[in-house]
């Protein structure tokens, strides 16, 4: 499953992040905000009534907002 498909309030483990498909700046920012393989992530809120974009996720002890196109590069499996 990808992070953009993850239902709200269901903790999941990050299996793989498509770093190679992100540009350098975006990849570094994603890492700096705490995203990494093996960590637990949980989608908390969706923006946009129809589009459900962006997604606010809990990663570590932090809440981070990312857009769907970036979330689609993150593979997760339910914990």
């Amino acid at each position: 499953m990808r992070l953009d498909e993850l239902p709200l309030n269901q903790p999941a483990t990050i299996d793989r992040i498509g770093w190679e498909r992100l540009d350098t700046v975006a990849a570094r920012r994603l890492r700096a905000l705490g995203f990494d393989e093996g960590l637990t992530v949980e989608a908390l809120h969706h923006g946009g009534l129809v589009s459900h974009d962006p997604i606010a996720c809990r990663i570590g002890r932090m809440t981070v907002a990312i857009r769907r196109n970036h979330a689609a590069l993150i593979d997760v499996s339910l914990a």
């Binding site: 975006a26 809440t63 196109n69």
Partner: protein, 616 residues
């Protein structure tokens, strides 16, 4: 004077650096700019426990030493000692959020490796404890190899131990930088391991923030709350400010009249009263509105709500190629585009930022209101189109809407042409909610107001004086009966301009008013008043109000075209000057002026000819 020891505060965004800076320096601080870049430099005085003063500089919050924005570049360059206008600091205070060690310790490690004597301020320790974390500062200190002091900046807890530790640091010498271990991911994992070791006990996180977010970010409720907040804010900006603005206006008039009475008639009196005092008065009359707006924005920012507003607005902004971050600067631009454009500094993506700067002048700023008010009152009948909805109010709303729609369309067009390219998108940390501290709010308000007054004030004062000169030279012989305005350089420019603006329904009086309106839009009103006052030879017409006078000499299509012009025209030199400063050159301000004048010309022309066609 020998240089004071320089201590730098450095850390991630949202680590509470500014609050710690305020706690350490109090009101002894100065806001400036780093040379050549649009990054603010905050510095202040600090008294060390032995009575010596030291200079404390608050570096922009960044995530790493590999810069992705001008702010981060400055932080990197100061730490490595290559930033122009700054010495290499003698000591570092690395501020980390105790509740977010996972993410903040990696950057802390990178900073320690730079070799400058450093301490860690383990900040917001109270919130971490409330969040269910029990930390072991001693273990953290042993792992990182530097002293760790728990602090609560907003309550001034830990400030004295921090100062004691600074004294020790200043006795140490910097060591050469150590190479960083591994890549970014490796260091991040190392940091998580340190964080894990320092956490003695951990309970599930952030109950309060989560329950607020459930309401504030609710897919239906969230946007409604945001809309209500914005409505209250605009209501406050326009309603609460009026008595203060009227008071300032009366004060400026009194000073103007006093100067007029005290000085002998002649060119010098005209310069002081009509040039200098009127020009500076035109800026400070906006101060109440700007202070109220800034107060709202500061509260929304420090509580953590502004990031949520950006989250809610991201989808709409994305549809025109921007990100939610552009929302905040555009919001400020409703009071005045100058602080709005200055606020675009928080947008990391350079193309997003440039696009936001270029569309900010389309937000209806408060200076347009006097112009709209006079024209609407004179030409739009005060009747209701629907019960409770007046035609005049509807036209005003339409003008605001016209600006917003124009901005969105312009953003869409710009993103496909001159600012083309894939943006970084939207990735943003959503910090915990915090109660704002009143003293820090006042301090922030004062700093922003001062920066605004200094920048807008100097620019407006200078341009008003230039315009005054254009209107007053060459001098006419008072006995010749020729009007000074007609004879002046501005009068000649207006004659030339009249040919250009005739096709869109403007007369010569309007073109004359457009020139001084470059200093500040609302000056168009007083310029029209002056022109008609000078031109009126007929005594019976002297008693007419400006509105009646306009009604007598303009057609309705002309009035509507004039309104449409002011929705788009870049009639404000301070905005142009700020764009030049923020984009480091003339290229973008010139582009902006060209595209906005073109839009204004087309909009006014279309309005004039459509109105004429429909026989209005």
């Amino acid at each position: 004077m020998t240089a004071l020891p320089l201590i730098a505060l450095v850390g991630n965004p949202n680590a509470g650096k500014s609050a710690l800076f305020n706690a350490l320096t109090g009101a002894r601080q100065k806001t400036g700019n780093y040379p050549g870049v649009t990054v603010e430099r905050h510095a202040g005085r600090l008294i060390l426990p032995d009575g010596r003063p030291a200079e404390l500089v608050d570096l922009p919050g960044t995530y790493s030493l590999e810069p992705t924005s001008p702010d981060e570049q400055v932080t990197r360059d100061v730490i490595t000692g290559v930033q122009a206008g700054e010495r290499r600091p003698d000591a570092l205070v690395i501020v980390v959020d105790a509740g977010n060690l996972d993410n903040h310790l990696r950057f802390a490690g990178e900073l320690i490796a730079q070799g400058i004597p450093a301490i860690i301020a383990l900040n917001m320790i109270d919130m971490a404890e409330r969040d269910g974390l029990t930390l072991d500062p001693a273990r953290l200190s042993a792992d990182l190899g530097v002293p760790v002091i728990p602090t609560v900046a907003v309550r001034k807890r830990g400030v004295e131990p921090l100062k004691d530790e600074m004294l020790t640091l200043l006795g140490k010498v910097a060591t050469p930088p150590r190479p960083l271990e591994g890549d970014f991911g490796v260091r991040q994992r190392q940091a998580r391991a340190f964080a894990k070791a320092a956490i003695l006990h951990e309970a599930p996180a952030r109950a309060t923030t989560q329950s607020i977010d459930r309401i504030v970010l609710h897919p239906v409720g969230g946007p409604i709350i945001l809309a209500v907040l914005l409505f209250v804010m605009f209501q406050a900006v326009f309603a609460w400010a009026t008595p203060f603005a009227d008071g300032i206006d009366a004060g400026v008039s009194a000073i103007h009249d006093a100067a007029f009475a005290a000085l002998p008639p002649g060119i010098f009196r005209s310069f002081v009263a009509d040039g200098l005092i009127a020009g500076v008065g035109a800026v400070i009359v906006f101060l109440p509105q700007i202070l109220i707006l800034f107060a709202f924005i500061l509260v929304l920012e420090t509580t953590g709500y502004m990031v949520r507003a950006a989250f809610l607005m991201d989808r709409l902004m994305a549809s025109v190629g921007l990100s939610g971050r552009a929302f905040i600067p555009l919001l400020s631009s409703f009071a005045c585009a100058v602080p709005g454009i200055m606020a675009t500094r928080t947008i990391e993506d350079p193309k997003d930022r440039l696009t936001t700067i270029l569309i900010a002048p389309l937000m209806t700023c408060s200076a347009r209101l006097p112009v709209y008010a006079v024209i609407i009152a004179a030409f739009i009948p005060a009747r209701n189109v629907l019960p409770g909805i007046g035609l005049q109010g509807l036209v005003l709303f339409g003008l605001y809407l016209g600006g917003i729609v124009g901005a969105l369309v312009a953003a869409l067009a710009l993103r496909r042409t001159v600012t083309k390219g894939r943006g970084m998108g939207f990735m943003m940390e959503m910090p915990r909610y915090q109660m704002p501290i009143f003293k820090n709010l006042l301090l922030g308000l004062w700093q922003r107001a001062w920066v605004f007054l200094k920048r807008a004030g100097t620019i407006i004062a200078v341009t008003t004086m230039i315009l005054w000169a254009l209107l007053n030279f060459p001098r006419v012989d008072p006995t010749s009966g020729v009007s000074q305005v007609d004879h002046s350089i501005a009068g000649h420019i207006a004659n030339g301009l009249a040919v250009v603006v005739e096709p869109i329904g403007f007369n010569r009086d309007i073109s004359l008013a457009l020139i001084p309106a470059m200093a500040a839009r609302e000056v168009a009103v007083s310029a029209l008043a002056t022109t008609y006052a000078i031109d009126d030879q007929d005594e019976s017409k002297r008693d007419q109000t400006l509105g009646e006078r306009l009604k007598g000499s303009w057609s309705l299509p002309t009035a509507l075209a004039f309104l449409a012009w002011f929705v788009f025209a870049p009639q404000c030199i301070s905005t142009i000057a700020v764009v030049r400063r923020e984009t480091n050159g003339w290229r973008w301000p010139l582009f902006m002026v060209a595209y906005l004048f073109a839009l204004a010309y087309v909009a006014a022309g279309a309005t004039f000819w459509l109105a004429t066609f429909f026989g209005l």
